[in-house]
C-alpha cells in the first residue's frame, strides 16, 4: 500500500472552491431563494439517501458523514429530528456535499478494500492534510449556503441604515 503518512490533500484554491459552490447552486438550486433547501437538494435532486442514525453524535462525536459508496449522508438522529440543531445540520449537509463534489475520487487512488485498511488510512493521514480536506468542505458549505453577492447586498443595506441613524 502507498505510504499514507506522505499523503497530500490535493490543492484546490479558494477561488476554485467558491466557483464550485456557485456552479453547484446554479445547477441544483436555480430558484436562488434563501435559505437554500439543502435537504431537498440532497434527496430530490442528487438522489442521495438521508440516513439518520441513533447515537452517532453522543457515542462517536460525529454529526454527519458521506458514505464511501456515495449513496447517502448519514446524520445523527437527534440532530436530524430536533429543530434546535437545524442550522448546524444544514451546514453539515452542505459540508458533506463539499466532500461529494470535491473529494469523491480520493479513495480510488488507494487500495482500500476492507474496514481494516480504511482504519489505517484514516489514522495515518497526516492531521494537517486531513484538516485541508475539512477546510475545503467548509469553504464549499459556507459559500453554498451564503451566496457572497447576496450577503454583500444585505450588508450594504445595513450600513446605509446605520449611517442614516448617525446622521440624524
Amino acid at each position: 500500500m502507498e505510504d499514507i503518512s506522505r499523503f497530500k490533500c490535493p490543492y484546490i484554491s479558494k477561488d476554485q472552491i467558491w466557483q464550485a459552490a456557485e456552479n453547484f447552486r446554479d445547477e441544483f438550486w436555480p430558484e436562488s431563494t434563501l435559505p437554500v433547501d439543502i435537504e431537498r437538494i440532497v434527496e430530490k435532486r442528487l438522489k442521495l439517501n438521508i440516513e439518520p442514525e441513533h447515537g452517532l453524535l453522543g457515542e462517536i462525536d460525529i454529526d454527519a458523514y458521506l458514505r464511501i459508496d456515495s449513496t447517502g449522508i448519514v446524520v445523527d438522529y437527534d440532530c436530524y429530528m430536533n429543530e434546535k440543531y437545524m442550522n448546524r445540520l444544514r451546514f453539515s449537509f452542505a459540508h458533506e456535499l463539499g466532500h461529494f463534489f470535491l473529494h469523491k475520487d480520493i479513495y480510488s487512488t488507494f487500495p482500500i478494500d476492507d474496514p481494516s485498511t480504511w482504519k489505517d488510512f484514516m489514522l495515518n493521514i497526516p492531521d494537517k492534510e486531513y484538516g485541508f480536506f475539512e477546510y475545503q468542505a467548509n469553504e464549499f458549505a459556507g459559500r453554498t449556503l451564503v451566496p457572497r453577492g447576496r450577503l454583500l447586498a444585505e450588508l450594504k443595506i445595513c450600513l446605509q441604515k446605520v449611517q442614516q441613524e448617525f446622521n440624524r
Binding site: 462517536i60 464511501i68 469523491k104 482504519k119
Partner: protein, 120 residues
C-alpha cells in the same frame, strides 16, 4: 421494492423524510432502512393505510393495491446480523464532520466499524 416505491412517491409529493416520519409517528432511522430495503416494511393494515393517507393515495385505488402488494412481497426481508467486509466498507465515512473538527480516535473508529458491521 416497497422502499424504493414509497420513497419515489414521497419525493414526488415533496415530503421530506423528517416530515413523513413525523406525520406517521415512526422512527426516521428505521424508516430510512425500510426505504433502502434493509428492513422489512410494516405489514399491518392500519399502518399501511396511514402511509397511503400521507401520500394521498386513495384506498382501493390501483396505487393502493400496489403499495399493499409490494409490502407483502418484502415481508420476507430479514435484517443481516453481520455485514460482510465489503458491505461494511461501503457504509463507512469518506470523511468525518466531528464536533471538535479533528480526526477521530482509534477507539471511535473501532466503535463505528462495529456499529456498522452489526447494525446494517
Amino acid at each position: 421494492m416497497f422502499g424504493e416505491f414509497i420513497k419515489a412517491l414521497r419525493i414526488e409529493r415533496d415530503i421530506g423524510l423528517r416530515e413523513f416520519c413525523r406525520r406517521l409517528s415512526i422512527d426516521a432511522s428505521n424508516w430510512s432502512k425500510i426505504e433502502r430495503g434493509v428492513l422489512a416494511p410494516p405489514q399491518d393494515d392500519e399502518k399501511l393505510e396511514q402511509i397511503a393517507r400521507v401520500l394521498n393515495i386513495k384506498r382501493g385505488s390501483e396505487l393502493y393495491m400496489e403499495l399493499k402488494d409490494k409490502a407483502a412481497v418484502d415481508a420476507g426481508i430479514i435484517p443481516k446480523d453481520l455485514l460482510t467486509d465489503q458491505e461494511t466498507l461501503s457504509s463507512l465515512p469518506m470523511f468525518f464532520r466531528t464536533v471538535r473538527s479533528e480526526k477521530p480516535t482509534p477507539e471511535e473508529l473501532n466503535k463505528l466499524i462495529e456499529r456498522i458491521r452489526g447494525g446494517g
